[in-house]
Amino acid sequence: MSTALEAASDGWVVTKRNLLKIKRVPDLVIFSTIQPIMFVLLFAYVFGGAIATPGINYREFLIPGIFVQTVAFGAGITAIGLADDLQKGIVDRFRSLPMSRGAVLFGRTSSDLINNVFTVIVMSVTGVIVGWRINEGFLRGVAGFAILFLFAYAMSWISAVIGLSVKSVEVAQSAGFIWMFPLTFLSNAFVPTSSLPSALRPIAEWNPISSVVLALRELWGNAPAGAANGTGFPAQHPIWLAIGWCLLILVIFVPLSISRYRRAASR
């Protein structure tokens, strides 16, 4: 077998191993399903009436935001999974095998992506029930999901670096998520950036989360009218900016994770 094929096969073996865990601990699936449903319902019905989104129903505006927030948090479990493997010694077994060096990381990020895909399916159904629609046709619909999953995958690699840097699962549990609160709330995910104080507005507009959310809204026809979308470059080129952010994250965090993995595991 060629090296590339071997690496892919190793990554898939580790992915399957991670997915088996989800099958064995179904509670994990149940809670990762309930949470997005709860978010959709709470935001749609609690904030729905209070937030003005010109030209579009708040629920349609909201769903792409919730999707992006949820996959970002979903990517946070990458940190926990890796910290857990390091702590338990299974990584020693992996490292003493003649397997591809990156397989543990590619396997982990892949299984977490699959998990995220599942969550998005559940949320999409919930979204449709509360009135969300993709208004721009099939291809743009698919393109939106592709960007969403690219973003989820990129976020997993940031999370991987965190998981490999902390000393225990407990720390990973908070360190993996805490930074996501300001990141997701200082964005256009839940409110139009035009409603933010002027000092925060540029931060929110250039936030990668906002770019991804806006890209989805454009592709799916869920965007509000005019200035509610934001201003300047990020508002004019959300799709390319979103893809650019994801690629930039991957270019930085994939090599960083691999070097962290080597160091963390060889202590």
Binding site: S9, R17, L20, K21, V25, K88, R93, R95, S96, L97
Partner: protein, 320 residues
């Protein structure tokens, strides 16, 4: 005979902490080397260096004639490692754990499944094959972990404290498994803090303490350094200690030692049971009735005590 494992002046330091220093090891093919030492002596660090898990800070090592630091990937193909903390995935079944390892050794899907079955059979885990490893007992987990190290029948096997934490029955079972491996011709390096274990399983023993090798030899050679067998006589009353010592002086080969606390006199002897019989006669003639009378063969505990000045189990722990 070629050497399966060679370490030359191997050393590892972590910042200012020295884990292993100037360690030389030679393990000929088909033999068992025991790395014997208390907690924190540097045993695990040594195994981790030899199995490519960490990089030595000094010296070099070879496994199967391959330089470990230069070609770790090649070394990984010919070794099996079973660690101190059983590296088993809790959520996978025994069968799935071994299949996964087989796949990662790039056995085909069917071959990996077949091999997993064979190993489960060999390690008496067939009944538990489809249960998640989470439900296994400590002994079963160890066996599963060891099975994982043997998936491709590697010629060189490293076992880091294979029986630590096992109950006596599981330990005996594990010893049986290890003996079988040796009979099948594998080269083994095993670490242990149990002297009896090293005595029983190893051809050659390196005693390691604070990261340094402090003695090397066969179990018999190490015991020989302790001056052979001892005759011990315990008496009921302290006043009998001195007369008993007088008797033993005439039987033994050196000056008897008196332990007031234990009311016991010991002396080194050379003629085994003949010396015992002689001692019984002379004690009887001197009207001393011992409460206990025995020949003590030196244990590796004595070796450790003599070499380090401390019993093996009560050493202060350092870094692993």
């Amino acid at each position: 005979m070629a050497n399966a494992i060679i370490a030359e002046q191997l050393g590892k330091t972590y910042g200012s902490v020295t884990a292993v220093v100037g360690l030389d090891l030679v393990v000929p093919e088909g033999t068992v080397l025991g790395l014997l030492g208390p907690n924190g002596a540097g045993k695990t660090t040594t195994v981790r260096m030899l199995t490519t898990l960490i990089t030595p800070t000094s010296g070099r090592c070879e496994v199967g004639g391959i330089d470990v630091c230069a070609h770790p990937d090649k070394v990984r193909r010919i070794i099996g490692v079973s660690g101190q903390y059983a590296a088993v995935d809790d959520y996978l079944t025994g069968q799935e754990n071994l299949e996964m390892v087989g796949r990662l050794y790039h056995l085909g899907k069917r071959r990996a499944r077949q091999r997993a079955k064979e190993l489960l059979e060999q390690f008496e885990l067939t009944d538990a094959a489809d249960r998640p490893a989470k439900t296994y007992s400590g002994g079963m987990r160890r066996r599963l972990d060891l099975a994982g190290a043997l998936v491709v029948q590697p010629p060189v096997i490293f076992l880091d404290e294979p029986t630590t934490g096992l109950d006596p029955r599981s330990r005996l079972g594990m010893w049986g498994v290890i003996s079988d491996l040796v009979k099948a011709g594998s080269t083994l390096l095993l670490t242990t803090q149990y002297l009896e274990e090293a005595d029983r399983l190893c051809d050659d023993i390196v005693v390691i303490d604070h990261g340094r090798a402090i003695a090397q030899g066969t179990a018999a050679e190490l015991k020989g350094q302790m001056g052979g067998e001892k005759l011990a006589v315990a008496v009921g009353d302290r006043s009998e200690l001195v007369p008993a010592a007088d008797v033993l002086r005439s039987v033994g080969v050196d000056e008897p030692e008196i332990d007031e606390q234990a009311r016991e006199v010991t002396v080194h002897i050379e003629r085994g049971t003949a010396a015992l019989v002689e001692a019984v006669r002379k004690l009887d003639a001197a009207e001393i009735t011992p409460t206990n009378l025995e020949i003590r063969k030196p244990t590796l505990d004595d070796v450790f005590l003599t070499l380090t000045g401390q019993p093996a189990e009560e050493q202060p722990g350092g870094t692993q």
